[in-house]
Symmetry: C2
Amino acid sequence: MTVIALDAMGGDFAPRSTVEGAIRAADDGTEVLLVGDERTLTAELATHERVPAGVRVVHAPDAIAMDEQPSLDLRRRSSSILVGLELVKRGEAGALVSMGNTGALMALALVSLGKLPGVERPALAAMIPARSGGPTLVVDAGANAESRSTHLVQWAAMGAEYMRVVGGVAEPRVGLLSIGEEPSKGSPLVVETNRVLAASSLNFVGNVEGRDIVDGDIDVLVTDGFTGNVALKLVEGMVTTLLGGVRDAAKDSWRARLGGLLLMPALRTLRQKFDYRQYGGVPLIGVDGIVLVGHGRSDAFAVANAVHTAAEAAEHGALEALRSAIAPDAAGAADTANSSDEGPSLRTAP
Amino acid sequence: MTVIALDAMGGDFAPRSTVEGAIRAADDGTEVLLVGDERTLTAELATHERVPAGVRVVHAPDAIAMDEQPSLDLRRRSSSILVGLELVKRGEAGALVSMGNTGALMALALVSLGKLPGVERPALAAMIPARSGGPTLVVDAGANAESRSTHLVQWAAMGAEYMRVVGGVAEPRVGLLSIGEEPSKGSPLVVETNRVLAASSLNFVGNVEGRDIVDGDIDVLVTDGFTGNVALKLVEGMVTTLLGGVRDAAKDSWRARLGGLLLMPALRTLRQKFDYRQYGGVPLIGVDGIVLVGHGRSDAFAVANAVHTAAEAAEHGALEALRSAIAPDAAGAADTANSSDEGPSLRTAP
């Protein structure tokens, strides 16, 4: 049974949301280690009639506030995030899920778990729903405010591997976000990245534009962390605005009200498809352990889904896949030698 | 009566869309100079029962194809874009509207009209509809693949002035697109721009995130041309995806079908609000003349709206407003002296 560590103190609605989310996830068959202040968590658990055996508490006396600066957190060895990361590091948990302070989580994951061999910069890999077909993985969705071409190329390789082993896509189509489809269009960063990706063994389909992000024609969208974060949040904002607009329209008149009532069940699928809570969290790829970052305002449903996503990643061997996407394995000593001058490179044979 | 030059040969559906758009605009009281091949345009006009007196043809024997590289176009002095720009330059038209090759249009506008005094880089200023209140002007929406902080600061000043005189917003609220609300969040470009805007006389509200773009809480959103273009096109893609999803849902069952029929009139307002054709075109601000860039796939409705938007900009004195936003006027000689060391600066008194 997969064991997932959950930062029980992280998020706007913790520990109520995290404890209830853990109970739901355990009911679905995942063992959850609730990491946080034991007294608080025991009290919260006591408000539930029934706690499944799969939920256990791991004491961490301290918690990092949502708005704390990451730099200060590193000194506190007893925060729920750090205790959770150490559980992953020691192999006692297959992954850590946190709805807490994202900056602190990323900084602490780097310190505690370190990077996978050869990885220059870890990145957030967020699923964005698409009009047709499966979702698109957006890397980087905001871990890095500044990005270089070598980073983007590594994220493309890791993203494709993640979609292959976790998303079950045989040959993930990789697109590069730009402001024109031609290889020559875009910033120098994008033009250079296009050149390297076109020469790689990845299934690179070329540049894609903003309007193509939600088309479903690609499986992995590579972009710098700034643009990726803006895009991810804009998708969220547009869902709220447009589906909220449909809801408002259905209050316009008795006629619209009736129409809304009749249409509602059919709209549920659309609403669910674009509900950010369905994946519950965004993997931080490139660190040596599986870490999922959730939305600060996650409810129990989102928390349970994040635990589920983390368990799936762990069960599918996502970490080993990511490791092999960047660094040649022990058997590939020749590759290591080849790439050693210019630092770590992509594995060039699929 | 305001006279607007229209590149009659530009756009996927030209000259049918441009000729019909010109007739509609002229019916609404704007005089339109249809610039393009006289024989083609006369034939197209002949397919209409009635051509208002406000539509005239200006011969330009050549046209620039949608996918041509801008660099080659400059040699052809007789293209419809260049002839249209010269009409603006000579004061025979108050603005040029083109649905043609955007890259060529921007390059030719720079060559033909030149930049407004002190402007470092022209930018595209696109209106994005918002959940509540008026639209938000996004600058730069894609004229520049690379941007510097001094560019963003000038775009903020020009965007605010444009919203003041054309949008009728007394004190436009200016937001800076970033990946966190704190001034310290974002790329070095954004952090530096935040610092300068915070010290300026603009009504700067600070950083805004992707999900805030369509909230309606700001009037001008400043961003680099890469991110702005991605955001603009993503909004378009999300509208297609989500409103298309609602339409599809209304085909699910007899119940949903009836619901859709009843709700449709109320949804029309929402659809119209997010219809990119309502503004018809995006002003290229910072060149010495009013130039509107339209969508390649504009239909006659979009063309007529673009002509209308251009006429409004001309009638409100947008060009003089933009000029004064960057360069001190003749009376402000002291300001000119002050800013001369560091190049042109913002006018610091409102």
